[in-house]
């Protein structure tokens, strides 16, 4: 019953979305406040309808209702509760439903927080959101209905893919979608502004918090996925330039560019056309990513053929939305007036440079991801574009960008003084160079590039600290005043510094693990020992263990340094009962910022076990850096200036108070 209710709610949501797609736009043309006011009401209604559908599906997962095809295919009665719940989106249909839920959630947020938006802008933006919602609801209802029933109902489900039975599934997709789909708000605002033909600094101020929120979630989501891949795959890689990863990385790069250009637009009214274009591009890349992942065109060319309707359907959505948006942009962009002038050496100039490099990087990843597909379609010849290509092209693009980062926030708006800024950065540069020398000295034989790479990370960290110090008045006022000023700095200043600092931390992790990690593949017998980095591992043997829906063979290793045992690490080979599928559970021992990564291989005929041990110095810095970046995003989000309407509301209250007197 609840399943049918969920299905019905989804159909109702479609009806509401269709109304929300049309009437508010008519209202904005006719200046009809009543029609325009429909938009927020409809947005909130469709949120609750989709939420109802989502709850219905979750309930059938929790109660293991195998009469629902989707539940039967992806769940099992013995599965732990957390995976029953996260299993809701661990499949195509359910994850599309989550996608839509987050989309309408954002629409509802705009309806809720958008009280101070101009009526027409709000109505149009919510209408655009509804176009997207309607398109994807059609998609789900027509090609990927999660509420399909089975008759007769099977007794037991086929279980969730074991690799997905991980806490990562509970966190990674929702975060990723919050990011992906969050950019829809920027898109809708851009389209609404183009329809309206009017755009100003206030527009950028409304869009920036949404960009920031989406960017923060996407950063955390990608990082979470990377760490999940790292510990689950069993061989310690953390980024593979896989098309599916690229699909989430492209919106991130474009979104990062958008975050920076919206800043210029808000402060200086410049880069308007470019910012609108970036908003469109960013969400288009999210849609493209959804298409690439959902249609299966990338993972396997044949997945397209097995269910062509899905792929073609999303391709249709993609063409209509991206094509429509770019056409509208081409028609209307000229009518947007450009604002503020600035010299090339200025904060604006630095942000333009940032955008240039990020856009180039985005397009490099885009072309690299799609090139094999297009080439095969056009000429029939097959090539591969893999990690070596991306490392060779993307890497060098990042170097000048990262070097320039500390300059940006220190430059003045309109016209900056590069020499003065360089002088402020002397200390940061000095510390970085000393670090490079120290790396070469302590890690004898360290490649020069690795030393420079780590120095670059330190440069980013010191650069952000320098920025904060000068904002607090370093060198001009005494320490006590500096501390007072420091505490009074706007949250966005801390946000910027944290994000850039986190970037530096990640860079250090990436460089260190690339240059200094060691790998060891060996056969071990019980009592045997091996050395990895500064540590010695003694194999204590294998022993069987049983989990709720799997059996496993655990291998224990005693870890010691200088003859002193201080920890044990356990790696396991699991077999999940329902699917008879083996997985490797890596044993990871975190020592300071570094990790010892142990993975069990097959048993050899002579009674030994293949063991792989990696020593990964500073590897956790990669993800710690991304956490700092996300925290920066959150801190920035709470900046007073971004709490849109706060000043307006207080002014209104002040006016009311005056009248009362």
């Amino acid at each position: 019953m609840i399943v049918e209710l969920g299905h019905y709610a989804l159909v109702m949501a479609l009806a509401v979305a269709l109304i929300q797609s049309v009437l508010p736009v008519i209202g904005s043309i006719r200046q009809d406040a009543g029609l325009m006011a429909l938009a927020p009401a409809a947005a909130v209604t469709s949120f609750f309808l989709v939420l109802l559908a989502f709850i219905a599906l979750t309930v059938s997962y929790v109660t293991s209702d195998f009469s629902v095809q989707n539940v039967w295919e992806n769940s099992h009665s013995l599965k732990p509760m957390i995976y029953k719940i996260s299993g809701v989106w661990g499949n195509h249909e359910g994850s599309m439903l989550l996608w839509i839920l987050i989309l309408v959630f954002f629409s509802a947020l705009v309806a809720f927080f958008g009280g101070n938006l101009p009526a027409a802008l709000k109505a149009n933006a919510l209408a655009v959101q509804a176009w997207i919602t309607a398109a994807f609801l059609f998609f789900v209802l027509l090609t990927s209905n999660p509420f399909q029933r089975l008759n007769p109902a099977p007794i037991e489900g086929r279980d969730l893919n074991p690799i997905l039975q991980d806490v990562g599934l509970a966190i990674h997709p929702p975060l990723l979608y919050l990011g992906y789909v969050g950019f829809s708000i920027c898109f809708s605002f851009a389209i609404a502004a183009l329809i309206d033909g009017r755009i100003d600094a206030a527009w950028a101020r409304w869009v920036r918090p949404w960009t920031l929120a989406a960017w923060t979630a996407l950063t955390a989501g990608i990082a979470m996925g990377s760490y999940w891949a790292y510990y689950e795959l069993g061989w310690g890689g953390w980024w593979f330039w896989d098309p599916v990863e690229n699909a989430s990385f492209m919106p991130w790069l474009a979104g990062t560019a958008l975050l920076h250009s919206a800043l210029v637009m808000e402060k200086r009214e410049a880069l308007k056309i470019w910012t609108v274009l970036l908003a469109i591009i960013t969400f288009s890349l999210s849609l493209l990513g959804t298409f690439l992942v959902r249609s299966g065109v990338l993972t396997s060319v044949h997945a397209f053929a097995t269910d062509p309707t899905r792929g073609v359907f999303i391709l249709g959505i993609l063409v209509v939305f991206i094509g429509g948006a770019f056409s509208l942009f081409a028609l209307r962009a000229q009518s947007l007036k450009q604002g503020g002038l600035f010299a090339p050496i200025s904060r604006e100039g630095a942000l333009v440079l940032n955008n240039l490099f990020l856009t180039t990087a985005t397009l490099t990843v885009l072309v690299g991801t799609l090139y094999p597909l297009v080439l095969e379609a056009v000429t029939g010849s097959k090539i591969s574009v893999g990690p070596p290509f991306f490392n060779l092209t993307f890497g060098p693009l990042m170097v000048p960008l990262l070097l320039a980062v500390p300059f940006g926030p220190l430059l003045a708006w309109k016209r900056g003084d590069l020499l003065a800024v360089s002088q402020r950065l002397y200390a940061a540069a000095g510390v970085s160079l000393l670090t490079a020398l120290a790396v070469v000295y302590f890690a004898t034989g360290a490649p020069v590039l690795a030393a420079l790479g780590i120095a670059m990370g330190v440069w980013l960290i010191c650069g952000s600290l320098t920025d904060l110090a000068y904002r607090a008045g370093a060198g001009r006022v005494d320490l006590q005043v500096m501390w007072q000023r420091f505490k009074g700095l706007p949250r966005s200043a801390f946000g910027t510094a944290l994000a850039h600092l986190g970037l530096g931390v990640s860079v250090i992790g990436i460089v260190a693990v690339t240059a200094f990690s060691t790998e060891l593949v060996t056969t071990m017998k019980q009592g045997g020992q091996t050395v990895s980095g500064p540590y010695t591992l003694v194999f204590e043997g294998l022993r069987p263990n049983t989990g709720p829906n799997y059996t496993e063979l655990q291998g224990r290793f005693a870890v010691s340094r200088d003859g002193e045992q201080f920890a044990t690490v356990t790696s396991a080979k699991r077999i999940y009962t329902a699917r008879r599928m083996p997985t490797t559970e890596a044993g990871i021992l975190t020592i300071g910022p570094s990790q010892l990564y142990v993975s069990l291989g097959d048993e050899t005929p002579d009674g030994g076990t293949v063991v792989r041990v990696w020593w990964k110095p500073w590897v956790t810095f990669i993800w710690i850096g991304t956490i700092i970046m996300s925290v920066g995003g959150i801190v920035s989000l709470f900046d007073r200036r971004l709490r849109v309407g706060a000043p307006a509301a207080s002014r209104k209250r002040a006016a009311a108070a005056e009248q009362a007197i």
Binding site: H172, P243, T299, T360, Y371, V385, V521, T523, T584
Partner: protein
């Protein structure tokens, strides 16, 4: 397919059958000479496992990947240079096996994209900056404006 797996499955979960993840290189493959082994690893990381999705033979535990790894090591032991080994593999399996495609007419756009976008963007920005500069260049004040200015300045002097 291991590479695609975690994220691919996490997000898309369309895959129903895939090779379970585990390490690739096994101890019996490892060459005694560490320098030679390091070269073998480098070469393997750039060669695609043909039966997998976007995975190098260095990461894949498919049988074909193992055969290729052994082949690479055989050629190295026989004294081939890195280029000769790669050339040999490409002559047998085609350029599809290279994870970093060679620069040629059909990969021209692929390789040139970063440079074209970056240089094109820079050129556009510089042209734009120059145009703006000519617009923004201060025009000398006309006689009337000059007189106006003097008047304002004088009145301010008087006030202070």
């Amino acid at each position: 397919m291991k590479r695609a797996t975690v994220l691919a499955v996490a997000v898309l979960t369309l895959l129903s059958a895939f090779v379970p993840p585990s390490g690739a290189v096994t101890p019996d493959e490892v060459l005694d000479d560490p320098a030679l082994e390091a070269r073998a690893r480098d070469i393997s990381a750039g060669l695609r496992c043909l039966v997998c999705q976007n995975q190098s033979i260095d990461d894949s535990d498919a049988d074909l990947a193992k055969d290729l790894r052994v082949l690479v090591r055989q050629r190295l032991v026989e004294g081939d240079s890195d280029q000769e080994v790669v050339g040999y593999i490409v002559s047998r399996y085609g350029e599809f096996v290279l994870l970093k495609p060679r620069f040629s007419a059909r990969t021209l756009i692929l390789w040139a994209t970063p440079a074209i976008i970056l240089l094109g963007g820079l050129a556009y920005l510089m042209a734009n900056a120059r145009r703006r500069k000519t617009v923004a260049e201060a025009q000398p004040l006309s006689n009337q404006e000059q007189a106006e200015l003097q008047k304002v300045l004088r009145s301010r002097d008087r006030d202070s």
